[in-house]
Symmetry: C2
Subunit: 627 residues, 2 copies
Amino acid sequence: MTEATAAQDDRDLSVTGPRRVDLQFEPAGTRVRVPPGVTLFDAASWHGIAIDSTCGGHGTCKKCKVQIETGTAPVTPLDARAFSPDELRDGWRLACRVVTSDDLRVTVPPLVTRPKAATVGVGRQVILRPAAQKRYLELSEPDLSDQRTDLERVLDAVDDLELRADLHALRRIGRVLREADWKVTAVIVDDVLIDVQPGDTTDRVCGIAFDLGTTTVVATLLDLTTGTPLAVASMLSKQQPHGADVITRISAVMLDPAKLGLLSGLAQQTLRELTGEVCGQAGVDPADVLEIAVAGNATMTHLALGIDPEPLGVAPFIMATRRWPEVLAADLGLAVHPRARAVMFPSLGAYVGGDITAGLLAAGMDRDRRTRLFIDIGTNCEIVLGNRDWLVGTAAPAGPAFEGAAIRCGMRASDGAIEVVTMTPDGLDLTVIGDAPPAGLCGSGLVDAVAELVRIGLLDPSGRFIAEDDAATVAPGLAGRLTTLGQERVFVLHWQGEPGDVARSVYLSQRDVRELQFAKAAIATGWAILLEEADLAPGDIQQVLLAGSFGSYLSPASAIRLGLVPRLPALRVVSAGNVAGEGAKMALLSMRERAGALALLEEVRYVELSDRADFNDRFVGQLPFPS
Amino acid sequence: MTEATAAQDDRDLSVTGPRRVDLQFEPAGTRVRVPPGVTLFDAASWHGIAIDSTCGGHGTCKKCKVQIETGTAPVTPLDARAFSPDELRDGWRLACRVVTSDDLRVTVPPLVTRPKAATVGVGRQVILRPAAQKRYLELSEPDLSDQRTDLERVLDAVDDLELRADLHALRRIGRVLREADWKVTAVIVDDVLIDVQPGDTTDRVCGIAFDLGTTTVVATLLDLTTGTPLAVASMLSKQQPHGADVITRISAVMLDPAKLGLLSGLAQQTLRELTGEVCGQAGVDPADVLEIAVAGNATMTHLALGIDPEPLGVAPFIMATRRWPEVLAADLGLAVHPRARAVMFPSLGAYVGGDITAGLLAAGMDRDRRTRLFIDIGTNCEIVLGNRDWLVGTAAPAGPAFEGAAIRCGMRASDGAIEVVTMTPDGLDLTVIGDAPPAGLCGSGLVDAVAELVRIGLLDPSGRFIAEDDAATVAPGLAGRLTTLGQERVFVLHWQGEPGDVARSVYLSQRDVRELQFAKAAIATGWAILLEEADLAPGDIQQVLLAGSFGSYLSPASAIRLGLVPRLPALRVVSAGNVAGEGAKMALLSMRERAGALALLEEVRYVELSDRADFNDRFVGQLPFPS
């Protein structure tokens, strides 16, 4: 840690606002700050400090014993049963019963039953506590002196959990118990017994995390007992033919209500095919998939669930709901376990959807003491600023430039797309996806091309190509590429066909540059307004996370050069990867992280840009590139 | 009330055992006793004392104000917000927050919003508080300054309830709100928003109570806002061709597991057709049926839900569960509101099923201070003894005699069945169902015939027909009817065909008498053992309730004559009617009564007869008729 960031950290600790309690966990020495009212157990869990527990903090297993060294924690009735009077006097408490209100220093004994943990998200260590679990049971047979029902017999054997059964489990329980000679596996999701299976099937507990993108859908099959990914697959959304972006798809439904069923069906078909693919790859029986998690923007989530997205598409942009009720994978048309749950990520707003909630979770935005700027770049660009004490977010209408849609030689990031462009005054160098001949320009290539042209000086700060005469002086090796196509000035990135055949070349037009300027101005206006809301300067941002399928591929240097992100040392701008998918994984691996996603709804203050009188003015001010 | 019963009542009040608190409600002067821990509000509700409330005792409406006159009730945080310090000092409290521990005398103010009540069950006054309800809402339109989601907007308008929505409601909410110009009806079952309907549909809240009998299924369509029955229909169970009784049907499934699907489908088809019939009769849209209740024995309930009943049919007689999870009417194949709930009555035991739980609820067995004996007579006979302080129950295998199955001229209680028989030494009188010529003998006719023959003296107390020579002396007008058919002695009830053609007559055979003796001995052994368990004599029973489709038609005098019920003044033996169906109605009309049915599971102590070493011995002792 540099001196500068250490000083920054100290400053963060002194931030005022809603009160926090300081918890120090020994012997690790880890110090964390949480809102009063959080239990010691949760605070430890949230910060990756492992405390023994088999009940998950529900006060039933009495394993989460800790010793309070300084500070006070009242003795609860459960403590009085778990400890001797001497132990209580020495500060021993059950961590899950300690509701923090004082600063505490706590010693955590070494683990007896070691909980497994997995690293997911942006370097997040997640203690495995999936909602889906199995228990192998060897039960006694009933007789006239023990006429407990089949369900009572099973539930009594899982007495550390307070379970209820669903009808599906009851329809199977009698036959399975008897055919399996009373040796069965209880299949549990959350507090529901969803199935009883013959024999010991505890090694087969799987889940699928879906990143339900507008363009691309990614599925990751996870072994929930170990946190290991078993298979990954992705495909273009089958909704693509009905519109490249959410607005087009919403419009389609507005014009023809019958399209709702069609689009909903296509979303579900995409999820279904991916499910088949990841299960096939890993040799996993789909019936062993007990839970899925879906991180998608509000429109995609509405459509996948068969909910009319029309109110999302027109002012005042209203969602059906922010939090989703209990949804089954079957409600999404998936043929996994018939009672598998579907965790649908909640939305912060109509344009800050479940994908962003998942991304913020994966990025640990609500846990990190550093002030960070999270930017998910796409047609709609979601921006969140803050640290563990406060978060403020907005959505900026960036338009389709990054998807390549309004760009003359634009294309999606697939084989043949130029994704990296570097220039010197004497020439240029292209990196093309798939080792194919260049066929077009994807988003990151577009950003690079414009950024390099600005850096070299062939584009002036206002975004205009300089005069051809000046170009020969500024960049002799590139000047020949600056030409015209019809009325429009263009810069040729790659010649193909006859030399001088501009029409068949891969080029960047003056209008393309304008499109990118509009996109970047919208984004920059967004984070500038958030900084202003937080009363911070750009230099106060300690890290910029570029997220999303486009953002993660973007060159930080180019992003800074264009003013897409605040002017900061390039090392502070990092790619966060597919954070939506990572968040979905975290929700499957940990009930606590899942709760964290819900908590984000309360923690992020949403700033609506579209009703700000100063938006257009500020937008125009952000159009030029930084000089 | 006679002096004897008044004394009896006083004695009951002094019964020791689990402690009770005494509550006296003024100005009505009603005195009730409840277990400590019951809230004042519930105690009042359970005993038909109306206290103002719109939230149903959840502490949100602050309407259930009462004044404590004597005894103490601590001030809760909610009381402190609902009352001034002066009022608190004067004993004002919210009845739903008063957890009783002391004896209390309480004044209940007159009602402001008069709750409606309905009389159902055995003279039970039930305050209407159905789980299914509707609320008409006129909502404000969203704008950029009020971007609450559609769901939040609806839930905020129903702020006296803490609701969650289900996916079905979310799939409709957006379109309905906008098409209905924000004037909608929220459709609620329990704490779930199951639908949003355009306009004001609050006058259409219906439910169907099903008495799911082994032989006959009865459906009652209720208006849940008024408690009024709108239509009633009944039909023979479509399972009939696969066995007249539950054991035959269980055996069918044991021999051929494919029969489970068949029988389950037939049960559901029966319910479905009845639903169509009652809705058609009343002109009610099935989609306005928001909840159904099903009271059936354990086997019928298992079968209707598609659960293998095999473990119910063989020792040690194990149910899948006693309490049912959330079941939808759709799980039973019913095309009512797609999210309508199905309240499945819980079973006390494999042979004391949901029909009995419903019956006990309707009879108020858990509320009445009198010690009563509840007997549901059928192939399997359920018997419960007790009062509001204690209940003990059992099931006795009475066999099929009452259904007419093992009786030579037996038939079901349909047109042509002899249902009443009276005799003098000079002749006999028959009442036949449907004004048809006598075709056979139904259960009540069988009981009457045997009872009358015993009374007249043509059957001796051991159950044998007396010698033909003696008959001419004992009953000169009847002696000609005592004859033989083949080897067997018979008594002809009705000649048809040629005079003297015994084979074509309607008669009662010696073997028929034996069948009835076996049935009555099983039942009498049952209640005798229960009396012994309770340390009571037959004379301590203040009322005998004859329940079930057969029991309700039985002549109390004949039942006493045969020893089917204890020897008591005939006025103490009353017909309770179709208590299972009444209980199902009560569950639909009142959430409190529904909770009462669940509480019965804890309150009734079950005595298993089949593992008692003394059963056979006592059974033999009960074979003779009382002399």
